[in-house]
């Protein structure tokens, strides 16, 4: 009774005091920082009082408040904001998304989980970070975004494949790529094109429109990836597409248009400098005692370096161009309480910076979810896309465009006076086989893909806490490859083909059926014990067919379809199948948010292995302990402190043939009669590659998770590596696929994220990640396998180790390379190679920043790779320093040199690392450490500056929101690498041969303007 009286008194007194001060009516709109849309239902409270209100559907509020009082705005999921009221009557408030990102829900295999409850290691990337990047495919946008995830663009070819390594090179077989799962359906992510165009793979992930993506989760440790068992060894990338929310229909229209250019052009000598270098080579050789029938280049070639009217072709400028890139998409989403939809239509078009290349995509998506019955929810996700990729040959191929440009003779014009293409054989570069502009403009290589990805699910609630989910998915690809080699090309002239065309098709049909039960229950006092369990099956099968036809003898280069060809030279069809049957279980236990444990097991049967070893079982377990839930840390600055540990085994069966374990006879022909020939030896003991992984992690958050820190240390050991194993050649074979060894990756990943300036008109949030990963081959059945002219696989060394002829610099007296004659035979050749370095980085990472000031937003993303080496194979051509392959009678070097050759040795006593010029090959070895360079770089990968018009202003024209932006990709790069771009790899998909740059299509930099309109 007394108590109630007291309360009444207090309220009364406050009311009086409020009534006594001068009150005014303040009104305004509360908008969300996420999308600049009005926020309904925001609590608006006068601080220290009970008087308050709630914003209406349009985010409007109106409240009586006295001068000097403070208004408190709060809403679930947003930072609470306090504003001191002065004499203003209009107050517009922008609420920031809660920085406690640890509370977000993350997608894990077969379900979702609160990030707070994770016991494994999962990296997340928000869709908006991806949507913002001007790139053709999703994987491209992940560079620098997540710790432990190493993404590389091996080629700048539009629509080209990307390599992604999650926690190092786990597997050595052709597939060290992660498993991509989109909306729960594992995708076919390999290059299905059969078209030869050098090392530039097509990218089946480019069939997905990045704007449709809601989020990407990367499952890194064994605990997280084990639910994908045999396919998790290289990590799993889960892609979730956008789905509708109930409410009014929202229409979003986005677009951008921009231009791209190569990041760097190699500075080449002018014609005059080229001739001077040849004169220097002759002078040096004569001084070294070489007998030559001439003493200057003008007498032999007829061109003088002093002639001011020399032709001066800048070859890189002839094949590269400023190319447009554009993207437009419209998405409509909405629904009611029962049914929600999201649908989109998108168009993307990128011309390549190299003539003759481009990529185009049209895609449509429909995602629908409906509560069909009280106990039954059904839904579907469908994506249909068509892509057209236009490529030229590139990389290490005779008729590649870039490779033929490398040492281009500046004395040679692109076209002769009569308009015909100049023939390199009329000029002074041995390297160039055909005019690269002719190749770029006249060779055609099209890959057209139609892809349908669809899945339907039904989720039934069988009992409280018990659901059954059943999904059926289809991944269908039909791809056509078409190529044409023109009559005017040297390739056709030499072979007397009269034009050469091919047509090929690949059809892949993969289906997957998955069913799983999910059970959750809480019990005990205060429901302290929480369990959830998942039990399911998955069947997946794929069937693929191929065809190809080639023909020659075309009437003219205007016709490129095979029907006009005079002669069909070959035709074939083929096909192959595989299947996978799996059973999986996952159990989670959570004790009062303090103690968390997960146990996962999956059993997979694969058609690729023999009967004895068909099934593999992949278990994992993880525990976490949240110290921050203990009494002594409650109500301190520490808002989250969690220790995690996990251990598990995951597998790999990709990258080997569908029938790798069987002994096979294939069919070939002799005199047009079919024959049977041994095609492969059997290996009945072939089995899974398995990766065992330990992970120790810590999650730490302070100041209400305004600053969070995540650290993970892992040791990943892959045994039974699936790889070609050398065998005695007396068997008629040099290798079989076998489980041949053991490789280890250990690493440390750190990520820190914080709202550095969270309130006030200027905000800045930042995220930084860095990873150190050490890769080492631990065991091999046969050690020191030489893999190529430049790479070796050896115990104690990492994958991607360079094996090259070595040198000890330039002799200051003679100007000659001091080659290491390892075997002492007096000749420097492949017998003198030794291990000289590797392509693995010491560390890599990214730094992402978001700034906001009033209507402006700015995103700045850097990424960096430090300590990797690149074998700059291209440099062997454009730093030839005069070496003439056809002998000294008529000097004919590979061609021109880059300007760095000016640092070469000229006179005794010069100290430099570039040897003297010479017409002989005394200083030139193609596969030597002379071309090995530091590949480290720091790159301003993305900068995006946007302006958001205030809702009031745009509402007048009937628009919900409007943002305009300017963005630049790869704007700045800091590197010591001398090639076109440090982000290269000629052998994109084989990590064992990583780190070579040879005629590779370089990365590009782009600047574009765009808009986001909400209706």
């Amino acid at each position: 009774m007394m108590k109630r009286l007291l309360v009444t008194c207090v309220i009364l007194m406050i009311s009086i005091s409020v009534a006594m001060s001068q009150t005014t009516n303040v009104r305004g709109v509360v908008t969300s920082s996420e999308d600049n849309l009005p926020l309904p239902g925001v609590n608006v409270l006068v601080k220290g009082t009970t008087s308050g209100t709630v914003t209406d559907l349009d985010g409007n509020f109106s409240i009586q408040v006295a001068q000097g009082q403070t208004l408190v705005f709060s809403f679930v999921g947003y930072d609470t904001q306090e504003i001191l009221v002065g004499n203003q009557t209009n107050l517009n408030v922008l609420l920031m998304i809660d920085a406690r990102t640890m509370n977000e829900v993350v997608v894990v295999g077969y379900g979702t989980q609160s990030r707070r409850d994770l016991t494994g290691s999962v990296g997340s990337v928000r869709g908006e970070d991806i949507n913002r990047m001007p790139v053709a495919s999703v994987d491209n946008a992940l560079q620098g975004r997540a710790a432990g995830v190493f993404v590389q663009s091996p080629s700048g070819t539009p629509g080209a494949g990307i390599t992604m390594q999650i926690r190092g090179n786990t597997s050595l077989s052709a597939s060290s790529q992660p498993l991509y799962v989109i909306d729960g359906i594992p995708m076919i992510s390999e290059d299905l094109s059969g078209l030869f165009s050098g090392g530039q793979a097509t990218n089946s992930l480019a069939d997905i429109n990045p704007a449709d993506i809601e989020s990407i989760e990367i499952l890194k440790d064994a605990s997280a990836a084990a639910i994908y068992g045999s396919r998790g060894a290289n990590g799993v990338v889960l892609i979730t597409t956008k789905r509708g929310k109930s409410g009014d229909a929202k229409i979003d229209i986005n677009g951008f248009y921009g231009f791209q250019r190569i990041t760097n052009e190699i500075d080449m000598h002018s014609s005059s400098e080229f001739l001077s270098l040849m004169n220097d080579a002759i002078r040096q050789d004569l001084r070294a005692g070489v007998q030559l029938p001439y003493d200057n280049i003008t007498d032999v070639w007829g061109f003088s370096p002093d002639d001011p009217d020399l032709q001066n072709t800048r070859w890189f400028r002839e094949i590269f161009r400023d190319a447009p890139i554009q993207s437009y998409d419209v998405a409509i989403s909405g629904g009611n309480e029962k049914t929600q939809y999201y649908t989109s239509l998108a168009y993307f078009n990128q011309d390549g910076v190299q003539i003759g290349t481009g990529f185009e995509r049209v895609s449509a998506r429909l995602n629908v979810d409906t509560q069909a019955k009280k106990w039954l929810k059904v839904g579907t996700s469908m994506n249909l896309s068509r892509t057209v990729q236009d490529r030229t040959i590139n990389d290490n191929s005779l008729y590649g465009v870039v490779i033929n440009t490398l040492a281009g003779d500046p004395l040679m014009p692109v076209r002769e006076a009569d308009g015909s293409y100049a023939d390199p054989f009329d000029y002074f570069g041995w390297w160039m086989l055909d005019n690269p502009v002719l190749i770029a403009e006249n060779y055609h290589r099209f890959t057209r893909t139609v892809r349908g990805l669809a899945n339907t699910y039904a989720e039934a609630t069988l009992a409280p806490g018990l659901t059954l989910r059943s999904t059926l998915g289809i991944d269908y690809t039909y791809l056509e490859d078409e190529s044409y080699t023109p009559i005017i090309s040297r390739e056709s002239v030499n072979g007397n083909f009269n034009g050469f065309g091919t047509f090929g098709s690949t059809q892949d049909f993969t289906w997957i059926a998955e069913n799983y039960l999910n059970y959750t229950k809480s019990f005990g006092a205060d429901n302290r014990h929480n369990i959830s369990a998942l039990l399911g099956t998955s069947y997946q099968a794929s069937s693929r067919t191929f065809s190809s036809i080639s023909a020659q003898n075309f009437p003219s280069d205007q016709f490129t379809k095979l029907s006009v060809a005079g002669r069909v030279t070959s035709a074939s069809t083929s096909g192959t199948d595989w299947g996978l049957a799996s059973y999986f279980f996952r159990g989670n236990y959570n004790y009062a948010d303090k103690f968390l444990a997960t146990f996962t097991v999956r059993a997979d049967g694969s058609s690729r292995f023999g009967d004895n070893f068909r099934f593999g079982i992949f278990p994992s377990g993880s525990v976490a302990y949240r110290l921050s839930e203990e009494e002594f840390l409650r109500n301190t600055a520490v808002s989250d402190l969690k220790f995690r540990a996990s251990y598990g085994v995951v597998g790999n069966q990709d990258g080997i043939g569908n029938f790798a374990s069987r002994g096979l006879f294939g069919v070939s022909a002799y005199r047009l009669a079919p024959t049977l020939t041994p095609a492969q030896l059997s290996n009945a003991n072939l089995t899974w590659e398995s990766t065992e992984q330990w992970n120790m992690g810590i999650d730490f958050g302070v100041l209400n998770d305004r600053i969070t820190f995540t650290g993970d240390y892992f040791v990943k050991t892959t045994t039974d590596l699936l790889l070609n194993r050398p065998i005695p050649g007396i068997s008629g074979f040099s290798s079989v696929i076998d489980n041949i060894g053991k490789v280890e990756n250990r690493g440390l990943e750190l990520g820190i994220r914080g709202a550095i300036l969270a309130s006030g008109p200027f905000t800045w949030s930042s995220a930084f990640n860095i990873s150190w990963i050490r890769n080492k081959v631990l065991e091999l059945v046969i050690d020191e396998q030489v893999l190529s002219d430049s790479h070796i696989l050896a115990v104690g060394h990492p994958i991607g180790t360079f094996f090259l002829i070595d040198q000890e610099g330039v002799d200051p007296e003679t100007g000659n390379m001091r080659w290491v004659d390892l075997n002492g035979d007096g000749v420097i050749n492949s017998g003198d190679r030794r291990i000289v370095g590797n392509s693995q980085p010491d560390f890599f990472g990214g730094w992402d920043n978001n700034f906001r000031y009033k209507g402006f937003d700015l995103n700045v993303l850097f990424n960096f790779i430090v300590g990797n080496q690149i074998f700059n194979h291209s440099r062997a051509t454009y730093e030839n320093l005069g070496w003439s392959r056809l002998g000294l009678g008529f000097p004919l070097p590979d061609g021109n040199n880059h300007r760095l050759a000016d640092n070469r040795w000229m006179e005794p006593g010069d100290v430099t690392d570039i040897p003297r010029a010479s017409l002989t090959n005394v200083n030139w070895r193609e596969y030597s450490s002379r071309w090995l360079e530091d590949g480290s770089f720091l790159r301003l990968r993305m900068i995006n500056l946007g302006y958001n018009f205030t809702p009031q202003r745009v509402e007048r024209i009937g628009v919900r929101s409007l943002r305009v932006f300017v963005q630049a990709q790869n704007l700045l790069t800091w590197t010591r690498y001398t090639g076109l771009d440090p982000e290269v790899s000629q052998n994109a998909r084989d990590p064992r041969l990583a780190g070579s740059d040879f005629g590779t299509f370089p990365q590009t930099r782009s600047v574009s303007l765009g808009f986001n309109i909400g209706l």
Binding site: W375, G495, A669, R671, P678, L681, S682, S734, E784, Q785
Partner: protein, 452 residues
């Protein structure tokens, strides 16, 4: 509602329990299980043709076995991108050389096919597979195995020294169950043992093949020619003479009047004893590498070796600053590899006659037969066998260049030092690094290469 739910549950459970067997056992669509390959006469013949198909391999008679021989010698020089060929042209072949690494298993693959046939054909249960048909298959298999082992010995073994221990590992049984785990780790047999095996195979072939004249396969005459060549290499001149003489006098072969006709054709000619045949559906790599890629250019010293008026000097084309051989003119790579042709048999008979009779002029007529066909005047005689050998090597070079004989001829007559400036140990090529590695010390490197 509950009834509906039960129905649904039933359907879903049915899906749950789908048997996984179907999807786990797909069959290859373009290949056969190896253990079910040799089952009857038809498959035996298909496998036999497979041996020819494997002889077409680029490392073997599809290009490199033939041209690398001219390349390391003084007939060809290399301009191109491949270190492998560059090393051969430099005459400093390391044990990591790509061609010697790949040729080893690829030639042994041909041997493995013949091993399967020789072991399996006699016991095949196929009533329609007659003894005569079986003998044909067996005869060809023996002949091919003899050729392949002899070819291996000529590059990797000391074929010129019958007391040498540096022969080839002799595998004459098929790999059990086609399982790589059953590959025996064989050491090198002696040169004498390899010759014994080769002779036993070629003798068996000569016994089994009479009446078989197909010029695109190892026929009776090809087996005789092979035996003549082997005996010549071994210095068994009497035997070499007998076989060569029989091919020339009894065989259905004759030299073509016009040398260009030997090459400007896609089919075996009257001069062909055994061609490995190619066509546009099944191409060799000769035209590609000689013309299209322009890599095996002609060594200037070969051009200088021709006398004026030699029709064979016209078998070259000149363009783009260099000469190239015109012996493989078909741009669809349909020209055949001439493994044995009559001109070589004349040379064998001439050489064998000289050394059998120790008479430098005993082979004069045969040399002149080949010379005059090319439009040259006949030679009148030689003062010594040394003079004969000089003339023989010259005639063989101008006649058989780009056909894979030159280096072997220089090795046989111990001239790689004087003609090519090569150290003596390089008469033999090195055993590939990969083979040494996988043999774990069982295979021994050729002398001189141990530290290279």
């Amino acid at each position: 509602m509950l009834a509906n739910m039960k129905k649904l549950l039933f359907i879903l459970l049915a899906v749950f329990t789908i048997q996984s067997c179907d999807i786990l056992e797909p069959d290859p669509l373009t290949a056969l299980d190896a253990n079910a390959a040799l089952v009857d006469g038809t498959s035996a013949n298909a496998i036999l043709l497979g041996a020819y198909s494997r002889m077409q391999n680029i490392n073997y008679y599809g290009l490199e076995y033939v041209l690398n021989n001219d390349l390391i010698a003084d007939n060809a020089r290399y301009q191109g991108f491949f270190d492998s060929q560059l090393e051969i042209d430099q005459r400093a072949v390391p044990f990591t050389n790509l061609w010697i690494t790949q040729a080893w298993p690829n030639i042994y693959r041909v041997i493995n096919i013949t091993n399967l046939l020789i072991t399996g054909v006699p016991d095949l249960e196929d009533g329609t597979f007659s003894q005569a048909a079986r003998n044909r298959v067996l005869g060809e298999a023996h002949a091919i195995r003899a050729l392949a082992y002899f070819d291996l010995l000529r590059i990797y073994g000391e074929f010129f020294n019958e007391s040498s221990s540096f022969g080839m590992p002799l595998l004459i049984e098929p790999i059990e169950n086609n399982d790589f785990n059953r590959i025996p780790n064989l050491s090198r047999s002696t040169v004498a043992q390899v010759y014994a095996q080769v002779m036993s195979d070629v003798d068996a072939a000569v016994d089994l093949l009479p009446g078989f004249n197909d010029r695109g396969r190892m026929n009776f005459w090809a087996a005789l020619s092979l035996r003549a060549r082997i005996q010549l290499y071994r210095g068994n001149y009497t035997e070499a003479f007998q076989d060569a003489n029989r091919v020339i006098s009894e065989g259905p072969f004759q030299l073509l009047d016009n040398v260009r006709d030997i090459y400007a054709t896609l089919t075996p000619t009257a001069e062909s004893i055994f061609d490995v045949e190619f066509n546009d559906q099944d191409q060799s790599s000769f035209n590609t590498y000689i013309v299209r890629r322009d890599e095996y250019n002609v060594d200037p010293s070969l051009l200088e070796a021709f006398e004026d008026g030699d029709a064979r000097a016209d078998l070259f084309t000149f363009s783009r600053n260099s000469f190239r051989s015109d012996k493989y003119p078909d741009n669809n790579n349909g020209n055949n590899t001439k493994v044995f042709r009559l001109a070589e048999i004349y040379f064998i008979r001439a050489e064998a006659a000289v050394f059998t009779n120790n008479d430098p002029n005993a082979g004069l007529a045969d040399l002149n037969t080949v010379r005059t066909r090319a439009g040259l005047e006949p030679l009148s005689g030689f003062a010594s066998t040394d003079a004969f050998v000089d003339a023989l090597l010259q005639e063989r070079r101008v006649e058989l260049n780009y056909e894979g004989h030159r280096f072997f001829d220089l090795v046989r007559y111990n001239r790689i030092g004087t003609v090519l400036g090569m150290p003596d140990f390089r008469k033999v090529w090195p055993i590939p690094r990969d083979e040494l590695l996988v043999s774990q010390g069982v295979l021994v490197q050729n002398p001189g290469y141990e530290t290279l």
